[in-house]
């Protein structure tokens, strides 16, 4: 579903990604872990072109996303993204956050979009918050709305960049629960996270990134119980 070949990214002189190669299969949940500054966010943001790769190829279902012939906006519609800082639209209610893109991009009527949005809010446990503005929601609730907003475009892939890092500890669980449910429904997911419990339980595969490369990858069992790379071991001994 996603194929990444020799992906490099420079910010000016700084080489942040130094040749990433990986595949994500349909329905797979890939968790990306690694120390701060190792390029996890940059990698994720390259997948939907929020960052432009300097070199290398990314294919989404065989389509090269860096090819100028392919419509970036169409591509992004198939990939939902959830941010650490939620990035909800503060001037819109929860339901309006969810309906904006489907109305403008998929031509849904206001009523259709709203019905669908209410269904999604129900799914993330927030049916009573449909007409509330983000400022009146807790962090965990905001992030669940943000997940629902991404789902409203019916994406094939969901990208998460540390979705629980900005949350108070007591709200982490409710967000991870929603993500877990999504994984069980067969969503293809790439999740950058510091929640090792989640990675171990929900991840099909773990990528350990260090200094701009995937230093080691494998099933949770291999990575967490039987890592080969010294850096992986050092990192895990610090976070576990």
């Amino acid at each position: 579903m996603i194929r990444v070949e020799n992906l490099h990214k420079y910010f000016g002189e700084l080489e942040v990604l130094r040749g990433i190669n990986t595949n994500v299969k349909k329905g797979e949940v890939v968790c990306v872990i690694g120390p701060s500054g190792s390029g996890k966010s940059t990698f994720l943001r390259c997948l939907n072109l929020l960052e432009m790769p300097t070199k290398g190829e990314i294919y989404i279902e065989g389509l090269s996303i860096t090819d100028p012939k392919n419509d970036v906006n169409k591509l992004r519609q198939r990939m939902g993204m959830v941010f650490q800082q939620f990035n909800l639209f503060p001037h819109m209610t929860a339901v309006e956050n969810l309906t904006l893109a489907p109305i403008k991009l998929k031509g849904l009527s206001d009523r259709e979009a709203r019905e669908k949005a209410v269904g999604l809010l129900e799914k993330v446990g927030l049916s009573d918050k449909a007409d509330v503005y983000p400022a009146q929601l807790s962090g965990g609730q905001k992030q669940r709305v943000a997940i629902a907003r991404a789902l409203a475009m019916d994406p094939d892939i969901m990208l998460f960049d540390e979705p629980t890092s900005a949350l108070d500890p007591e709200m982490v669980g409710e967000v991870l629960e929603v993500m877990k449910q999504l994984a069980q429904e067969g969503m293809t997911m790439v999740v950058v996270t510091h929640e090792m419990g989640f990675a171990r339980e929900v991840g099909d595969r773990i990528l350990f990134m260090d200094e701009g490369i995937i230093a080691e990858e494998g099933t949770p069992d291999v990575i967490f119980n039987n890592a080969q790379n010294d850096r992986t071991k050092a990192f895990l001994s610090k976070v576990l």
Binding site: L50, R76, Q77, M81, H91, A101, L105, M153
Partner: protein, 241 residues
């Protein structure tokens, strides 16, 4: 006190007429400035790069400074920047006399000259304030919009601008208050505004206190009223988010 009442009752039509001119110049130049400022801000934020094709050349790939600069060169933004720098870098008074005695030397509508000069002047400030208002919107908002598949233009229109307006409106109202005071120099090109009316009364009555303090009081009343309204308006804006 009696003397004051006497002067004012005799000469108040001058003051009224001056007040009318001050207010009208402010309104017309404020409207003009807002329109110009909006256009300039859009030019600064535009993404017009006519030499983009240079990206595919060898010199670009070899990081030739000139070619890289040219490839990303935005002429609209450049023109807007020059405009803003020139206007903000020269005194308003100088601009006003240039307009009156060089550019529009053949025109005899001083009202028009003053309004255009202040409109052009205010446009530069308004442009920066609009740009600042747009840039103050969190970067994550644009990313969230784009990640949903919305185009740059759509994200601007439905996500960024509505939030920016809340930043811009109070600053714009403040610009009107500034303008109201700044226009007090239009007397130098012979327009009978509030200040000039005060001066005329002074020379006729040989009394400086009454007319000039009255003029100051009128300005103060207007600015206090406006900033009061503005404060209330800001409070309402804040409540809505």
């Amino acid at each position: 006190m009696e003397r004051a009442a006497e002067i004012l009752s005799q000469y108040y039509p001058y003051l009224l007429n001056g007040l009318k001119i001050t207010v009208l110049v402010t309104l017309v130049s404020g409207a003009l400035g807002t329109a110009i400022g909006l256009v300039l801000a859009l030019m600064r934020l535009s993404r017009v790069t006519p030499f983009k094709f240079l990206v595919n050349t060898h010199l670009y790939k070899r990081n030739n400074k000139f070619i890289v600069g040219l490839a990303h060169f935005n002429p609209l933004s450049f023109i807007a920047r020059i405009y803003i720098e020139v206007i903000r870098g020269t005194p308003t008074m100088v601009q006003l006399v240039i307009f009156a005695f060089i550019i529009f030397v053949n025109s005899d509508s001083r009202f028009m000259i003053a309004s255009v000069a202040f409109g052009i002047n205010s446009g530069a400030y308004v442009a920066e304030l609009i740009r600042a208002g747009i840039q103050a919107v969190d970067k994550g908002q644009m990313e969230a919009g784009r990640s949903l598949g919305l185009s740059y233009g759509m994200t601007m229109r439905y996500v960024i601008i509505p939030q920016a307006v809340k930043n811009i409106l109070p600053a714009l109202a403040n610009e009107f208050i500034v303008l109201l005071k700044e226009t007090s120099i239009v007397g130098v090109i012979g327009l009978d505004d509030l200040v000039r009316a005060g001066n005329i009364i002074r020379s006729r009555t040989y009394d400086a206190y009454v007319p000039l303090l009255t003029v100051a009081a009128i300005y103060l009343c207007m600015t206090l009223t406006l900033s009061n309204l503005l404060a209330r308006f800001e409070r309402r804006l804040r409540k809505s988010d």
